[in-house]
Assembly symmetry: C2
């Protein structure tokens, strides 16, 4: 047996529960025509410019990537107005979450984590022997006043998800300003903005300004959602140079593949794709709001590319019945909501297919 050999902490880690795939739908449910609205992926696929850039790089793949993804950092630097020494690229932004903990979290230090949020914050905390301190949501929103009250002299990392996955709610610049002012100096705040490109309501934090001012903040962004590159694995962090320098020490040398670097650069440049993605999401959101209201179903208004729906019945049963209709959504029990689901906003057609399926399932 190897159980006795385990590192302390590993036994406490809960397995990640991913959205089901089309493959799962076919294998487990014998469903052929499937709409996957479970993982907040871009319904248009990757940007055509990114696809072209990758094609041109395929034959160069025998060569190792640059250790710090310099070309993508240069492109991001220009785009964001942040020095390239303030940028670190990861194999998905979740790798940067792990790096933040690896670099800064010592055993027994406390990490503030919201309840009902993305699970990798808790994963990274436990992996490096931190103590997770949970703060409840307030009306489905991050409660930054609650976070402030949970601060102690052991607080080291603060994990914020904005907009929040899975509720779609966002906190504002002023809420964040007030919270950060109350933090002790040694604490580092990680702001995961995986969905920020979809946010529409005013007042969304200009988080890179904290980076430029040298605050202890790590802003995380990804190419997985808005840019349609979830399958390629590429995200990035922005932080002051000292933070980035040390995170690089904790990083494996060749963490980001060469195609990810090229595709990321091209995707940043594809304005037509970005415009279509944003417009479709915005229209889809309004359409879904209207349809959900007709069905009399409670939901949260979203700043992201998914909607949190309060189905008020066992979410795993709803998931199974939706699956039989060929629509894959995410049941939210693993996020701590036993009676809610999350649906990604898709194309107009996908959204209608979801609504039709939901109608049938809720009628039962």
């Amino acid at each position: 047996m190897v159980d006795d050999s385990l590192r302390k902490g590993i036994g406490d880690i809960k397995p990640y529960i991913p959205g089901k795939s089309a493959r799962d739908a076919k294998l487990e449910f014998n469903v052929e025509s499937v709409v996957k609205l479970a993982s907040n992926e871009n319904p248009f696929g990757p940007s055509p410019k990114a696809v072209e850039a990758m094609k041109e790089t395929l034959k160069a793949l025998a060569v190792y990537p640059d250790q710090t993804s310099i070309e993508l950092r240069e492109a991001l630097s220009t785009r964001l107005g942040v020095d390239k020494d303030c940028l670190i690229v990861g194999n998905g932004s979740d790798e940067i979450m792990q790096l933040a903990a690896a670099t800064f979290l010592s055993a027994g230090e406390e990490c503030l984590i919201s309840e009902n949020t993305f699970s990798v914050y808790e994963f990274a905390t436990k992996l490096f022997d931190g103590e997770a301190v949970f703060v409840p949501l307030k009306d489905y929103k991050y409660d930054l006043e609650g976070f402030a009250r949970a601060v102690t002299d052991k607080t080291k990392l603060v994990w914020l998800c904005n907009p929040n996955n899975p509720t779609g709610t966002a906190f504002s610049q002023s809420e964040l300003d007030q919270f950060l002012a109350k933090l002790p100096k040694k604490a580092i705040t990680i702001i995961d903005e995986a969905y920020m490109e979809f946010a529409e309501t005013g007042g969304f934090p200009e988080s890179l300004e904290y980076v430029k001012k040298g605050k202890n903040v790590i802003v995380l962004r990804t190419f997985s959602k808005f840019y349609g590159l979830a399958g390629l694995r590429v995200g990035y962090g922005a932080a002051k140079p000292d933070i980035v320098k040390y995170m690089n020490l904790a990083k494996l040398p060749f963490n980001v593949n060469r195609l990810a670097v090229k595709a990321g650069i091209a995707a940043l440049d594809d304005k037509a794709f970005a415009e279509k993605t944003k417009r479709t999401n915005s229209e889809g959101k309004k359409h879904l709001y209207a349809e959900l209201k007709k069905l009399g179903v409670a939901f949260q208004r979203t700043e992201a590319n998914f909607i949190f729906i309060d189905v008020k019945r066992n979410c795993d049963k709803v998931f199974m019945e939706m699956m039989r209709q060929g629509v894959i959504i995410r049941p939210l029990a693993s996020f701590g909501f036993g009676e809610a689901i999350r649906v990604s906003i898709g194309t107009g057609e996908q959204n209608m297919r979801f609504i039709e399926a939901l109608k049938k399932v809720l009628r039962k």
Copy 2:
């Protein structure tokens, strides 16, 4: 400052020193025509079948990868005759090194590491607060008897590189058998076989047999070298199901990109490419041996796709002068050899270019 905030251990980590790239050669040395023989990459690029498989997957990249790279594990399972529950795929095999430490290494436990070997073993050890215990090479070879003498009741991980990077030497099945028999039960041996496909001398360990017998062994292989996919990031580990199950808990959910899975499957199947790679390496090796003998330069016979050369003068100076000739090799100071270099075996033409440049440099 963030220095006070660092996790214990991070300050001890030495930055990884990669091989220089063609980009570096152009930027730093103003050299246009460059032969890169610094990182043991396949001179033929990736397998054409892998390139085709990737092309077909580009448009599907908006979708997340499978969490356990199931399709590649299935292909590997068939190929290797090892159950798929004994396989774990990584973002390069170096990710599995990190996972092994994350899963099994507790603070203060000892890890046996050879001197003059691949640096990620020490990195992973320090990242998880292990104590590195170094064992010298013996005649440029891993000294497994020396390893056995270094075992204590605190020994947890044993890191073996076979063939060894950068000396190219390999230990045999019987040496390994004798060593493993002396290990305490809770110790886990990681056998990094990144270059095993190039080994030609008889007696190379059938390491997967240990896995099949349920020993505490993790065998690591990669698609970066023989299969020409270093830029894509994909490697794997084989170990008994208990070990794999726990390493999966320490793993980020979507560690391997979708293209890596498809390319890996296709590359395994490309027999013509494998045959060409093996033959070219074997011929190049003999050619280089002969030329190096003519030059009167000491070298080690290799079981890999690189040759260790004892230049008996400052390796960084040799590196710089070779760079000016447009040939990038690896100076081995960071491996603990101040007067040796490592050159990858390339195509016939690349090998000649290396020899011509070396002649000029050594003549000075």
